[in-house]
């Protein structure tokens, strides 16, 4: 038995998501409700105690001695993922760990780092690396009437369809440096529930003052644009290529720098309505 297993775990949950069996255990049953809110979208409870990856959250709690700090600890299997006195930061770290594991290891699904919305039952995928303004653009498209699918990952199946991965949007606040979790209903939108074919892929990056000047990429270059943001690109390149090939067979791929989100959202919806 590993040392971590002797730490006095009081409650836990096992669940399935994207073909994976995962578990989270905690030492304080009261915190389990908060943990459940952080589980990856689409999870369903599992009755089996056997899991392939176990996350653990050890809540430090209050110390009776004023000069003693008790850390909250997050473990990924037996490896420590986080150590902090701030429980919210520990929970956020656990959430990031769960999401990362699912996006890298999902079976029969390929995760592309991208925002996704739907417009008249056609999916628009916005691939882009960290801090390229995906969430801002997704939020603007939702305000203009698009259905929300994800601000983080395009979850693609072998047919090249995109599945909803609709967590609250993580809107970055420059003033606080934190991400504010914003339910899609706060933007006046709704979240999609069914898989959809991808009709448009828009590889764009925010640059202050830039003008929207889209050019269409060939299908092969489109695959590269998606692969450059695919979490499992190195681990399972064959599956990634097969899936992305399916995506671009039915989709146009555009590339452009972009300025403000509103103008870009208008341009994107215009592109889709032209077809």
């Amino acid at each position: 038995m590993a040392k971590i297993d002797r730490l006095g775990w009081a409650a836990g949950i096992s669940f399935r998501v994207c073909g994976l069996r995962l578990g989270v255990r905690v030492n304080d049953p009261a915190v389990l409700k908060q943990v459940i809110k952080l589980l990856p979208p689409g999870w369903i409870p599992s009755h089996s105690p056997y899991v392939e990856m176990l996350f653990s959250l050890l809540v430090g709690g209050e110390s009776q001695r004023a000069n003693v700090r008790r850390f909250n600890l997050v473990y990924f299997d037996a490896a420590r993922l986080a150590r902090t006195t701030d429980l919210d930061a520990a929970l956020e770290s656990l959430e990031m760990g769960l999401n990362f594991y699912v996006s890298a290891e999902a079976r029969r699904r390929v995760f592309v780092h991208a925002g996704v919305v739907a417009w008249r039952d056609q999916a628009i995928v916005l691939p882009g690396g960290a801090t390229t303004g995906k969430t801002t653009l997704v939020a603007e498209l939702v305000r203009q009437g698009a259905t929300y699918y994800s601000d983080e990952h395009a979850v693609l199946d072998a047919q090249g369809r995109v599945h909803p991965y609709a967590k609250p949007l993580a809107i970055y606040s420059e003033s606080t440096g934190a991400r504010i979790k914003t339910p899609v209903s706060d933007l006046g939108g709704t979240a999609g529930v069914k898989p959809l074919p991808v009709r448009l892929v828009v590889a764009s990056e925010y640059r202050k003052g830039a003008q929207w000047r889209a050019r269409e990429l060939s299908p092969g270059k489109g695959v590269l644009a998606l692969l450059a943001n695919t979490v499992s690109a190195r681990r399972r390149p064959e599956a990634a290529l097969a899936t992305l090939r399916q995506v671009v067979r039915g989709a146009r791929v555009l590339k452009s720098v972009r300025g403000e989100a509103k103008e870009t959202a208008d341009a994107i919806l215009q592109e889709l309505s032209l077809r």
Partner: protein, 181 residues
């Protein structure tokens, strides 16, 4: 001017490659260096003709037949240069003495070829799972502490939300070793 480095019979590399046709283009994933390439129609035709038995002149004739157009030898040399650069040839090529560096621009200027028919290989480095992961805030980065996990001294190297372009890495203080920098 390029140096003679191999044989006059270019041979396409086949080992440790995943190759997928996509309409006119060919996608190649190189398992050796985790790079993905997209070969346009002309580059793909040249690559497929590199069987180790054909000379450049043979490949040029083959290409003329495939494209149903007149093709200058330089077009094939341009393709071979790109294929060699991205390690898609098994052996090196014997560059003819006196052959200058050939670029797409030079060929278009000289009227030697239609731009659409010129070979082109686009290449990217496939991202690691961590580099394609969702960006984290400074607060989450600061929770990473010890050398329990690989990457940047336990800080994993995940992209950070702010400052833009930074990653969570070891910054050196004992009490808070991980920071966005």
């Amino acid at each position: 001017m390029k140096q003679a480095t191999g044989t006059g019979f270019p041979r396409a590399r086949k080992d440790q490659l995943i190759v997928r046709q996509l309409r006119d283009e060919v996608l190649v994933y190189d398992l050796k260096n985790n790079r993905a390439h997209c070969l346009n129609h002309t580059a793909a035709l040249v690559w497929k003709s590199c069987d180790g038995r054909r000379t450049v002149s043979d490949i040029t004739r083959q290409l003329e037949g495939d494209l149903k157009a007149t093709v200058d030898d330089k077009v094939v040399w341009l393709a071979l240069g790109q294929l060699e650069k991205f390690k898609l040839l098994k052996n090196g090529i014997d560059w003819p003495g006196g052959l200058p560096h050939i670029s797409r621009r030079d060929l278009i200027r000289a009227g030697g070829a239609d731009a659409v028919l010129l070979p082109l290989v686009i290449s990217i480095s496939a991202p690691t799972a961590v580099s394609a992961a969702t960006a984290i805030t400074g607060a989450v980065c600061a929770t990473r502490h010890a050398n329990d996990l690989p990457g940047n001294g336990g800080c994993i190297g995940t992209p950070c939300v702010s400052p833009v372009g930074t990653t969570c890495k070891k910054v050196g203080t004992a009490s808070a070793p991980c920071g966005c920098a």
